[in-house]
Amino acid sequence: MSETHTSIEKLANPEKATLEGKNKFLGFWFFLGGETVLFGTLFATFLALRDKVASGPSGPELFSITTTFISTMILLVSSLTSVFAVMAMKDNKLRQMQLWFWVTVLLGLCFLGLEIYEFSEYLSEGLGYKTSAFSSSFYTLVGTHGGHVFFGILWISTLMIASYKKGITTVTAPKYYVAALYWHFIDVVWVFIFTVVYLLGILGD
């Protein structure tokens, strides 16, 4: 079982080759189900409070479609590169997998940088965390997503550093696979943020 670092050359789906792998795969899908409820609650609260700007600035006054569109593109591309990484993993091509995952991490860092820049812009225009119900729910929703991106970057980087020693085995393959799954999930959440927060904020009224 997990003791033997089985070579995976002949396996089509190394992430599901062992019972441990299967459990990790299914358990992670369930975890993402729970995460969906978590973000759902954040979205619902944001929608209920997005017009409650008190004396502070409103979304349409602040949001820049250019920055957020660039962010969206960066994150969508990073999802694609993580797919390439998983395909390389299934082909047992370690170097290629590492390359694509590192590209994913890099794109994640760019996204995070843009988000920090965006937040600092809003702060300087008078939208603090305490300003209004809108500001609190906006920063909490988008910030929670940003926190997830940050965690994803740490996670994938750790796995990649370890992968130089451990390679692709039936023990490590499920780890790479679920990390990619997590990355897709935060990408999907961003698509909703882009639509519900930014597009609706700019065009919705």
Binding site: N23, G27, F30, G33, L49, K52, F134, T140, T158
Partner: protein, 628 residues
């Protein structure tokens, strides 16, 4: 970190107290984790029970001054919070850990590490909540922590509530995911979904409810925390916040929560009644259907806690009808249990007495539930003792009766010894009558207008008799609990030893192996050929189930201290947040350190492969011989 020993073999040998403590701190064995959950849940059950008695002492006579004002509010809040989150939930996890893997013929749970982490998070979360008594006062905003009262006007107690539940809730979520995957992926060959014992089915549906309900609570608690320490405006109406959002979030979690509690109790009753009626469960597939339907409807009814908020007649009507609809699958279950007993050879032992006592008691709670589901009538019942009576009938009369039945039923499987039946029957009768004397009069107190959460009432309002009877009844439940503790102490010292098939009537797989189960559960994974596989085998004259694999070495995970350390670091982080609210932002440093330590431990866990160890074939043969 150097203390993580990778190849520790089965830690059975006795080497004094420290080794014993180390064994419990590091165990990943689901049966031991189950025992830990039972001890932890039992401990908090006693604390919650003492709080209940304090409440009843205060209310025994009018205009009493035993426990007034904020002190009463603290006891009341902690009673509710403790009983729901720290007593009932962990005892359900105790049963799921002790029974589910054995019922599906599995050697382990899917995620033994997460399982242990879930326990330690629950236990330390409970401690965070309870140390508040000594650190400036316990939470006093009610177990529902409604805003803006809880977020703006109360003291530091609510910080302990928020962080304690956040930590314990994270543990519960992990437990839920663990059992979902265990049940779906690790069933023995032939154990199809429609052959699973009903307790396992309810564990599956309950785990799904946990997965989809708890994240809402997590988010709600964060909102309240951010309002308190970072000055956010979720519930601050001055800056546009809205307290109704908290009510929605809390009940979107809170209503499924009560089904999380009751479904496993339904599962227990569905195991105990057939066993002691010597008949298979009547209407197995309709029971499964009813369980799944109740699980689905659990998410559709939260607004019935909010009828008086003013969401309008349309919203109230839809949720009223959805609520009443739950009576249908529940009624199916009640009839199925009665048809199971019909014509059976019923054994009236303690486990079965609690199961049979459950039926009429729970039906009474169900009937008041349908009454409360009518919005127009609910405006009258709302926030009165009628509501208190209703939910104690379903939670004590339902969940606690189910848990007590389960404890008597599975005790021999968990510990290898029987509980004493005579003492057990005394426990049942004291508890049964004590319970009805406590809560039956409260229906009428409510209808007479006695509001909940008030610490006293006046003379001459006609509330004296009902309250006095209620307080006397509560002492009956206290006596029952003390008898149970005595029973546990006595039988642990010199109880009757149990065979594998402890009751001689076992139907499901857990009774086909030794009591208590060996570390590896099944020497050979059994081949399951139908519902009630053990009963089927016995009826065919076989002593053993057909194995599905040859005897061989069994792989086990190594024990680990990391779950305990991870829980400790999150506890440190929690105190950082709590004292950020009490003493200012400087304390956030500790929150940072705690979370940093957590990440570090996760890193260690991720990088260090656990190779586990093997229990060898010869050793298994030896153990199996000893069991016969």
């Amino acid at each position: 970190m150097t203390t993580i020993s990778p190849h520790v073999h089965s830690p059975r040998q006795k080497q004094g107290f420290l080794a014993w403590l180390w064994m419990w701190l590091t165990t990943l064995d689901h049966k031991k984790v189950g025992i830990l959950y039972l001890c932890g849940g039992g401990f908090f059950f006693l604390i919650g029970g003492i709080e209940a008695i304090l409440i009843r002492i205060q209310l025994a006579v009018p205009e009493n001054t035993f426990l007034v004002g904020s002190a009463y509010n603290q006891v009341l809040t902690m009673h509710g919070t403790t009983m729901i989150f720290l007593a009932a939930m962990p005892m359900i996890f105790a049963l799921m850990n002790a029974v589910v893997p054995l019922q599906i013929g599995a050697r382990d749970v899917a995620f033994p590490f997460l399982n242990s982490l879930g326990f330690w998070l629950f236990f330390l979360g409970g401690l965070i909540l309870n140390v508040s008594w000594f650190l400036g006062g316990a939470p006093d905003g009610g177990w529902t922590a409604y805003t803006p009262l809880s977020s703006e006007y109360l003291g530091s107690g609510m910080d302990f509530y928020i962080l304690g539940l956040q930590v314990a809730g994270a543990g519960t979520l992990m437990g839920g995911i663990n059992f979902l995957v265990t049940i779906i992926n690790m069933r023995a060959p032939g154990m199809t979904f429609m052959r699973m014992p009903l307790f396992t089915w309810t564990a599956l549906v309950t785990s799904a409810l946990i997965l989809f309900a708890f994240p809402a609570l997590t988010v709600g608690l964060f909102f309240e925390l951010f309002d308190k320490i970072f000055g956010a405006n979720f519930f601050n109406a001055t800056n546009g916040g809205n307290s109704v959002i908290w009510e929605h979030i809390f009940w979107i979690f809170g209503h499924p929560e009560v089904y999380i509690l009751i479904l496993p109790a339904f599962g227990v009753i569905s195991e105990v009644i057939p066993t002691f009626a010597k008949k298979r469960l009547f209407g197995y597939s309709s029971m499964v259907f009813a369980t799944v339907l109740i699980g689905f409807l659990a998410f559709m009814v939260w607004v019935h806690h909010m009828f008086t908020v003013g969401l309008g007649p349309m919203a109230n009507s839809i949720f009223a009808i959805a609520t009443m609809a739950i009576a249908i699958p529940t009624g199916m279950k009640i009839f199925n249990w009665m048809f199971t007993m019909w014509g059976g050879q019923i054994h009236f032992n303690t486990a079965n007495l609690f199961a049979i006592g459950f039926i009429p008691t729970f039906v009474m709670g169900g009937v008041t539930g349908v009454m409360l589901a009518v919005p127009a009538a609910d405006f009258q019942y709302h926030d009165s003792y009628f509501v208190i009576a209703h939910f104690h009938y379903v939670i004590v009369g339902g969940v606690v009766f189910g848990l007590l039945s389960a404890i008597f039923y599975w005790w021999p499987k968990m510990f290898g010894k029987f509980l004493n039946e005579t003492l057990g029957k005394f426990t049942f009768w004291f508890f049964f009558f004590g319970f009805h004397f406590t809560f039956f009069p409260q229906h009428f107190l409510g209808l007479m207008g006695m509001p909940r959460r008030y610490f006293t009432y006046f003379k001459g309002e006609g509330l004296e008799a009902g309250n006095l009877i209620s307080s006397i009844g509560a002492s009956g439940m206290a006596i029952a609990t003390i008898l149970l503790v005595i029973n546990i102490v006595i039988t642990t010292a010199k109880g009757k030893k149990a065979k594998g098939d402890a009751w001689g009537l076992g139907r499901t797989l857990e009774w086909s192996i030794a009591s208590p189960a060996p570390e590896y559960n099944f020497a050979q994974t059994p081949l399951v050929k139908g519902i009630d596989p053990l009963w089927k085998a016995k009826m065919e004259g076989n002593k053993k189930l057909t194995p599905a694999e040859p005897l061989g070495d069994i792989h086990m995970p190594s024990p680990s201290i990391l779950p305990f350390l991870m829980s400790l670091s999150l506890t440190l982080a929690s105190f950082g947040f709590i004292y950020a609210d009490i003493n200012g932002m400087g304390a956030l440093v500790f929150a940072g350190i705690g979370i940093g330590l957590m990440f570090l431990l996760m890193l260690i866990h991720s990088l260090k492969d656990d190779h586990g160890f093997h229990i060898h074939k010869e050793e298994i043969i030896e153990t199996e011989k000893g069991a016969e």
